[in-house]
Amino acid sequence: MHAFSYESPSTLDDALKLMKAHGEKARPICGGTDLLIQMRAGVRLPEFVVDIKKIKELRELKFSAKGGLRLGGAVSCIDVAENADMRRHYPGLTEAAHLIGSLQIQNRASVGGNLCNGSPAADTTPALIALKARARIVGPRSEHEVPVEEFVVSPGRTVLKPGELLVQFLIPAPAPHSSDAYLRFIPRNEMDIAVVGVGASVTLEGDKVKAARISLGAVAATPLFAAKASESLIGKKLDETALATAARLASEAASPIDDMRGTAEFRRHITGVLTRRALTIAAERARKH
């Protein structure tokens, strides 16, 4: 690896000062499971690496039935996957965190890092979008929130400006009779990158859909919120017709490419299949809440 300086500040203020002082030359590190590989390959060459794992705000995982979830940007995937509140209230996001790489990777990688890496195929990003998560970004002088679907602007690039840090995710409290799911297609059981990933959240009122969000990964340059597919379900029974319409609209929202993992045509087809399945699972779970 190239030579660089390393700091591990214990407060957000100190981290922001370092990020500001080093601007574009700085890069935060959390689990390092993407960044260190990119640094070895010469893809990213930060001169200054700021370890954010000791900062309290970034390590927080706090759920309340009224306030929802505050998930620190540096919370590891395994801490998400093993948390009882997460498993109960956000099973789709929990599954996504537990799908990434091996246990060795989950023990280090964070949901925040998964987003900041900017991959179109990140597993936790569609799960966050389905939950209407917002990313709280803090910079040297100000802070703001961005819906997660707007965070990645192109492969490997995000809305973060030099000096800014993704501090937390804010996820609304689950409404009554709501739940979520995340499914991905890979050609094996574990340890692969999504060919297609679909997140879904569903809120039921009686036997009708009151609210729904469908999100797509690995089928466009960035993770997507499939707005038309989601809206098509509102007020409907989640029957064959509604599922078929949502699946078709989700497929149409995808703009995949051909690559070694699959053809664009295959990806579009699988997007529809996973949309149906994720909606069905989310609705089954919602009925139990």
């Binding site: 030579a3 390393y6 390092g32 370890d51 246990l103 280090r108």
Partner: protein
């Protein structure tokens, strides 16, 4: 910029101090600075698991941890797995089940398996396979490794209940 940092950490129960540059991975620090060559370098991308060590009780790829991150942490490596007079039951069972050939992947498998059995002393076969999914073996095949881990779990459970 490539100034060396003094890192104080605990490795296999002993306080250890070493000097490293930020760009050196924990794996490099173990192997090249501390001359603990049990942890192996495979892919350097977190895919093969040959460099697996336990960091605060969790299995990690030491090629994807910076040496400077070890400050104040507790690290366990393959060198600390056996007791002073006997092999760890996992090591014994790997021998009995012929779970290794070239042996490069073995330290990583043993550390991942040790982490599993500490959290889940009675794993099912799928749980063993899941826990070892981040460790690749290109010669023995996985069945013998999985059998050794399941057998070691039985032996370790037996010794725990006898002790209790």
């Amino acid at each position: 910029m490539s100034k060396k940092t003094l890192v104080e950490t605990t490795i296999n129960g002993e306080t250890v101090e070493f000097l490293c540059e930020p760009r050196q991975s924990l794996l490099e620090c173990l192997r090249d600075v501390l001359e603990m060559t049990g942890s192996k370098e495979g892919c350097l991308t977190g895919d093969c698991g040959a460099c697996s060590v336990l960091l605060d009780g969790r299995a990690v790829c030491s090629c994807l941890v910076l040496g400077v991150e070890a400050e104040g942490k507790t690290i366990r490596t393959i060198e600390g797995l056996a007791g002073s007079t006997a092999l760890h039951p996992l090591q014994q069972k790997f021998l009995e089940h012929a779970s290794l050939q070239c042996g490069i992947c073995t330290p990583g498998f043993l550390m991942s398996a040790a982490a599993l059995l500490e959290r889940n002393p009675n794993p099912t076969e799928p749980e063993v396979r899941y826990a070892l999914a981040g460790n690749l073996c290109r010669c023995t095949g996985y069945d013998k490794i999985v059998r050794a881990v399941l057998d070691a779990a039985k032996v370790m459970k037996g010794s725990t209940s006898r002790a209790a």
